[in-house]
């Protein structure tokens, strides 16, 4: 029987949507029993949210002051211990899951299949390689635990409607003290989260400065969108790193993606391929972004953006 342990992601008492997406991915495997483990000092709020997800069998709280921050070196041995009763371990391919899950796999002595976009069976998965230029089908051996990370842009969050039991567990694994949390900084924009937003307004190198990004922010606020950026814009210091969309930044799947002054390097396109509608505005009519855009407009973003903001 397929028994899947999902490593839940949460912060500040709020379950991250990546966990609901892991549940959706797990639910595509017929007959799977789906449990979620939460590591925290106090996991009760996140556990209540996890238990309400449809398809979840059980939520396991592992509460310990050492779990106050999501340090991979501290959490991995606990996941590995809990994994004993499971055939599968799923983590999200967010920075939390990318950091933690391979460490878990290595402790379990097995490999990992990263970033799955579909489960064809309990042991066969599809995933992108080469920045999405190829999709491979990979089979995991039957006689080992299967450890995967879930490409969050490929799955819808599991709906509410579940009523899983919530249990507490203690683990005996020795927890290292060689890794310590110091601080976290995040700009509070009040805008939707880039990874889960239904609309994203994004700027590239042509923005020219961080000040100029303000016109995008105004447009974003007008239509309730998150703000994104290309690698070129982030490297140039026009936008903070957490806004980067692409192969090495965030992979997103909004309903509407509007790219302003983004040429469309393949590494960027891989991050937006799953968007339902892509809009491109660029001065250069030859820009590769137009090859993937559903609606393209050749023009100067500095006139188009304010005009759009006025009309909408």
């Amino acid at each position: 029987m397929t028994k899947i342990l999902i490593i839940g992601e949460h912060s500040g008492g709020k379950l991250n949507q990546s966990t609901a997406k892991c549940v959706s991915a797990a639910a595509t495997i017929a007959g799977a029993q789906i449990d979620i483990a939460l590591f925290a000092t106090d996991a009760s709020a996140a556990a209540t949210q996890a238990a309400a997800l449809k398809g979840v069998n059980k939520v396991i709280k592992v509460e310990n002051p050492a779990n106050a921050e999501p340090l991979a070196a501290v959490i991995a041995p606990q996941v590995a211990e809990l994994a004993a009763g499971y055939t599968h371990v799923f983590g999200p391919s967010t920075t939390f899951g990318k950091d933690l899950t391979p460490r878990v796999a290595a402790l379990l002595g097995v490999g990992q299949i990263s970033d799955i976009m579909a489960a064809e069976s309990s042991h066969r998965f599809r995933r992108p390689i080469y920045a999405g230029n190829a999709i491979v089908t990979v089979e995991a051996p039957q006689d080992q635990k299967v450890v995967v990370t879930i490409r969050v842009a490929s799955f819808q969050p599991a709906p509410a409607g579940g009523s899983a039991s919530i249990e507490s567990a203690t683990v005996s694994a020795a927890l290292p003290t060689h890794t310590r949390f110091v601080s976290r900084s995040a700009a509070q924009s009040g805008r939707p989260d880039l990874q889960t937003a239904t609309r994203v307004v994004s700027g590239g190198r042509a923005m020219g400065s961080s000040d100029n990004f303000k016109i995008l922010e105004k447009l974003a606020d007008k239509i309730g969108a998150a703000v994104g950026a290309s690698r070129a814009a982030v490297d140039s210091g026009y936008a903070p790193n957490e806004l980067q969309v692409g192969q090495t930044g965030k992979i997103i799947a909004p309903e509407l993606y509007m790219a302003f002054g983004i040429s469309g390097a393949i590494q960027h396109l891989t991050g937006i391929k799953d968007a339902r509608t892509i809009v491109a505005v660029n001065k250069d009519s030859e820009a590769p972004i137009f090859e993937v855009a559903d609606v393209g407009l050749v023009g100067d973003l500095f006139t188009v953006v304010p005009e759009l903001e006025k009309i909408l």
Binding site: D99, Q112, Y130, N133, F181, V182, R184, T248, G296
Partner: protein, 249 residues
């Protein structure tokens, strides 16, 4: 004084548009330009800067791959690494096997710092550093955008989904690098000549006692589904009309 081990992977160059072979058995590699994985190049640059500031006495570059990987290791030596180790391997070496091989090199070289890219741009797995840290039972600081060493510790700023996170780790530790850590230096011609005289040792997998048989089976390679051709509009009002028609505005 302390050593730094930098793990490099030979990959299809960043600028090459990778295509799937028509028979679905792999991607086209014939005559394609190969380079050091860009994230690993950032890792090497960081190692060299640490050494130049007196934080290490030796930088070793190591790679697992076909014999031609010597080219990338020579590039690493030309950038400034002191010596290189190649573990020859044909075919796929999965991240767990790579981590086991690097662990063997660590046991021999006893580095204080191990650096590599956060992912290789071919398989996009992003696993080897974390797996190595687990097997070595040492700290990991992934997606690093700033590394500050102080005594036997390092303070590392990491690029995470919500912004930046800073952690402190005891050394030795494994660091994986993100894009904004540094900008790698260009190699100059005299350095390429000098690099030819630097030692490049070969260590056979058999001598390390690591099983590199693949656990996973890749049964199919497919090109990504193409997006259907879009439309071009003339001005903002046409753009808005098109989006309203699609029901996204």
């Amino acid at each position: 004084m302390s050593k730094i081990l930098v793990c490099l992977k030979r990959v299809i160059d960043y600028n090459v548009r990778v295509r799937v072979k028509p028979d679905g058995t792999g991607v086209m590699t014939d005559g394609v330009k190969m380079s050091i994985n860009p994230f690993d190049e950032i890792a090497l640059e960081e190692a060299l800067r640490i050494k130049e500031k007196g934080g290490a006495s030796e930088v070793i570059v190591a790679s697992i791959g076909p014999n031609d990987t010597q080219q990338q290791l020579r590039t690493g030596l030309a950038m400034g690494a002191d010596r290189a180790i190649l573990v020859p391997a044909d075919g796929v070496v999965e991240p767990l096997a790579a981590a086991r091989i690097f662990l063997k090199l660590i046991e021999k070289e006893a580095p204080t710092i191990v650096l590599m890219g956060k992912q290789a741009i071919d398989d996009d797995n992003g696993q080897t550093g974390q797996m190595l840290a687990a097997l070595w039972n040492r700290p990991q600081a992934t997606f690093a955008s700033k590394i500050e060493l102080e005594g036997g510790k390092a303070r590392v700023t990491r690029e995470v989904d919500t912004g930046l996170e800073t952690i402190e780790v005891d050394l030795p530790a494994v660091f994986t690098t993100d894009l904004r850590l540094n900008e790698p230096r260009y190699v100059k011609l005299p350095d390429i000549m000098k690099a030819k005289k630097k030692p490049l040792d070969t260590v056979a997998i058999g001598d390390l006692g690591v099983n590199v048989a693949a656990a996973f089976r890749t049964t199919k390679f497919e090109p990504p589904p193409a997006r259907s051709k879009g439309i071009m509009v003339k001005d903002v009002s046409e753009l808005v009309a098109a989006l309203k028609q699609k029901g996204v505005l």
